[in-house]
Symmetry: C2
Subunit: 574 residues, 2 copies
């Protein structure tokens, strides 16, 4: 099967519940020069001196699998020292910089160099400003030399930022063409906090139009590619972050998540990613269509290449960053030091299949692998019997669109940009264009609270500590042709948004193997959504895609989530 | 001026923005037997053997000032021992019960006895079940005798409950006639928690129709009277609690607050009351019209006769009660031990007048007294220059009614009960009957968040630790004639609901004195609301009403609020 045979789901238009009264081709024409200028700027700032020759990158990268991670590891464009630096965890780097064993400048140079090549292969970035970053790194080196101490626990760490996070003086578009005119005067809280902690910034990363795809494609800089397989999406909406962190173009990244937007990129691209409980990491100062929407709130959180780095980020951001001094929505609750639990004291419930849409073969295989490893380590593993899955899906999807798509359309109308296929899907969530009344919205909230009660009771009454589940039906999905084969079913991630439970994506070390992960041709789909997702499983196109899962704990048990993440890491590595 | 001259505000009907399509006299007739049965039950359970002769209570109690607190202190119906017990703080009582110096039974008997007499004078209760309480107290005494330890930190404490809090097996009406049919199967989380901690229950307290008055009057058991002055309201909506706790019919009480409903009762009746930050004390399992409404959320919190008791409640409820195991909305954040700050290290901003509605003479006098006391103790006192007061008032009042009064009317329609004057006022909040769209509701939320940002910045940038402010324009308002002279302006309390800031009401020890607190007849009201509130100040009718204020800190700085409450207590007592 050729990738060109991948089509949009059959009769997809019959599922649409919106009217396209937002796009306007004539108006959009007038925005094209701005888009071109933005692309030119990105091209200019993708430093020529850091690039590999274009000829090094296959021209059929969008029709034939290309593994950027492998390419980078073999490439001689990066020095051995640069490879060594970019292979270190943020925790190691912070330690070595603090001891002056590495300088902030050489660390940033290594990551920026790698990021530029990664950009050539995956188009993960929207905005590079490496010279600014290097100036900041120099200042940090000077500070350390003069004062004999770092400015903070993230001193000199090259951190990537989802572009949507408001950056003072820089266009912040959030994937909307109309926002190419928007330049915040003030940094978002998260940027202020990370600067205070010593971070260096040099790259902002890609995201989809509307921020409501599990891929990263927009009308400004186009789509990003998965670092392990160029036919696949790195996920979304923080997909640029997934590609960047997993491709080691940064040592830590910041994403946001309202339906899976940190976790899909982490899982698809193959790194760690934490969707914290709400109001711990600030979203204040970002561009989104969710202003004032709090039925299901967006959260921000880290993507990283190790669980220690997730903890480094959370602990230093919260305890030393004190985001509540700037963002009134963050709760002033310190990060607790929770020791790794003893595997034998832990009960984990594994969700193999939510009953609505069946996971693909590599996911089934991966879960069995995890189950067996955990059992061997003495963990009490039980099966999670799904409940209220349809209710949760229904409620959260109605919440996404219950302003009748008003705000999203407002943001699209200003430029008249065409709707991408996955945007059309997102505008069809819930009741699509139907504007809810405040009373109907309250009813959704009440149904949400009832769900939260049932799940909280599940944990407490059954003495279950954690749930492990698929992040998505499959590994990263094929996302050529503007994403028409993308990820349609959000149920595995959005469940934990509606429940507001801390959820950590962890890599298993496994990846999709077409020879092993063979499609079950006899399977009869349960419903339209299931059919859409099953049709998309074409084993040979998914080769090399990482297999990752979600680890979920009770609300505000973020620290316990990370603590057991370390245990899982130990178990899977042994 | 006679109390009978107190009228509804002039032209009040011109301010109404609702249609009364909910009350239905014919339907209401059919509910009258149920109301009568409920009253009969209350009368039966107001134990005859605990009552004083009816002749002890003046028949003109509703037209001439009667001070119940004074009456109780002089009455010989209570034994000296009972007076001694009911004058102790909850903290002292818990200690003496734990040491077996007092039994749970004798403590409950003393409070129940006093509560029954208090009920005769103030009509604060909706539901007595003293025999049940005594049985529980006996069990607690047995447990302590057998095990040599208490069941928890509130072992044997007689705690009163706002009736609205769902009580398994007991009618829970929330002030709505139609809910005389509602008997919860399960206890509200707060009741479960308090039972686990050792509380004894025996009385549930009065509240207004709709729960949206700052008084306590309904079509079921009528209106409550202030324990210090029978012409006045004890406040609302937790007004029964205010009267009960201040009148020492219980040693601790639980109220709820969405616009001032813990603080107005505490301030009007003259006790301590804490409106904690949201999601610390559970509201799950209560009857209200706010299901799924989370733009401005209701909170539950304690009323008490000492600041130590407020802390005892908060600390034990949270740290040992762990409400999040039952109520998924509560955040699992422990109560921190915060030492009393040194007065000299503290900056307090005093709000004398919010610029919209001017406080009455006793409030001005009280604030000057507090300022001078704090300054003498070394506190850095500055003037709070009000900002965004009209915006806050506008946003929060629109939030209250932005479902177009849908849910309140639903709850009224079922019985067709007539609307009380203050209910009509509440149904006129914001845009009254106008149903908001979800998008308009989001816009209100966004305006709220912008307000919260500005106030958070105020605290942080000016290094202000606390704000002290009036709880209401005046002391408790006259509330004869079905509350038509009641409290119309909520701005001083609702400000801290929209901002979700922890706010503690503290007594000053002062009370209104008609000779000193003379009306300024030359004052020209600023607006209609101001005129309504100024017209109501009739000095001679308010005699003896306590003067109390609000102490407010940053969001989730509940512990710091209580810690400084102790300092204020020390300062005002010296």
């Amino acid at each position: 099967m050729s990738t060109l045979d991948i089509k949009a789901p059959k009769d997809i238009e019959s599922l649409y519940t919106f009217t396209d009264d937002a796009s306007n081709p004539e108006l959009f024409e007038s925005w094209k020069p701005k888009i071109q200028a933005y692309r030119d700027e990105l091209d200019k700032n993708t430093l020529k001196e850091y690039r590999v020759p274009e000829s090094d990158i296959p021209s059929d990268i969008d029709t034939k699998i290309f593994n950027t991670v492998e390419f980078l590891s073999k490439s001689t464009a990066l020095t051995e020292k640069e490879k060594e630096i970019t292979s270190m965890s943020a925790t190691e780097l912070a330690d070595k910089i603090a001891k002056s064993e590495l300088s902030s400048v050489e660390v940033l140079k290594a990551f920026a160099h790698r990021a530029v090549i990664l950009q050539q292969c995956t188009n993960f970035a929207m905005d590079f400003f490496i010279h600014e970053g290097l100036k900041r790194a120099e200042e940090l080196d000077d500070y350390l030399a003069k004062n004999g101490k770092t400015v903070g626990p993230l001193h000199g760490l090259p951190i990537s930022l989802k572009e949507q996070i408001g950056y003072a003086g820089k266009i912040t578009n959030g994937g909307w063409v109309s926002y190419l005119d928007y330049i915040p005067e003030e940094n978002a809280t998260t940027i202020k906090v990370l600067l205070n902690l010593g971070a260096t910034f040099y790259v902002r990363t890609n995201q989809p139009q509307s921020l409501m795809h599990l891929d990263s494609n927009n009308n400004i800089t186009g789509r990003s590619r998965n670092p392990y397989n160029s036919l696949l999406t790195p996920g979304g909406s923080s997909g640029g972050e997934g590609a960047c962190v997993a491709g080691k173009g940064s040592c830590l990244g910041v994403g946001t998540d309202i339906g899976g937007s940190i976790r899909a990129p982490a899982a698809f691209s193959g790194c760690w990613g934490l969707r914290p409980t709400s109001r711990r990491i600030s979203c204040w100062g970002g561009v989104s269509s969710g202003r004032g929407q709090e039925s299901v709130v967006a959260v921000a959180g880290p993507l990283a290449n190790s669980i220690d780095d997730i903890e480094l980020f959370m602990k230093s951001y919260i305890n030393e960053g004190k985001p509540w001094d700037d963002d009134q929505l963050c709760i002033p609750v310190l990060w607790r030091d929770v020791p790794k639990p003893n595997a034998k004291d832990v009960t984990v419930a594994i969700l193999y299949d939510d009953g609505l849409v069946k996971p693909h073969p590599p996911i089934e295989r991966g879960l069995k692998f995890v189950e067996s490893k955990l059992k061997d380590a003495g963990v009490n593993v039980i099966k999670f019997e799904p409940f209220e899955i349809e209710e949760a899906y229904d409620v959260v999807h109605k919440m996404y669109s219950c302003d009748g798509n008003y705000m999203q359309k407002e943001m699209i109308k200003k430029s008249g940009e065409p709707l991408l296929p996955m945007t059309k899907w997102a505008l069809s969530f819930g009741d699509g264009d139907k504007m809810y009344t405040a009373a109907e919205n309250r009813d959704l909230n009440y149904r949400r609270d009832a769900l939260r009660k049932k799940y909280n009771d599940y944990f407490v009454k059954n003495k279950v500590d954690y749930i492990i589940s698929p992040t998505y039906v499959g590994v990263a999905s094929v996302t050529i042709q503007d994403g028409i084969a993308g990820a349609y079913y959000w149920g595995y991630t959005s469940l934990f948004n509606i429940l507001d439970l801390p959820t950590l994506v962890f890599p298993t070390g496994l990846s999709q193997d077409p020879k092993v992960d063979v499609k079950d041709e006899s399977y009869v789909p349960r419903n339209k959504l299931d059919k859409i997702e099953q049709d998309k499983y074409v084993a040979e196109l998914l080769e090399g895609a990482p297999i990752c899962f979600q680890l979920t704990a009770r609300r505000y048990f973020d620290e316990e989530t990370v603590a057991f993440g370390k245990v899982i890491d130990d178990i899977l590595k042994n």
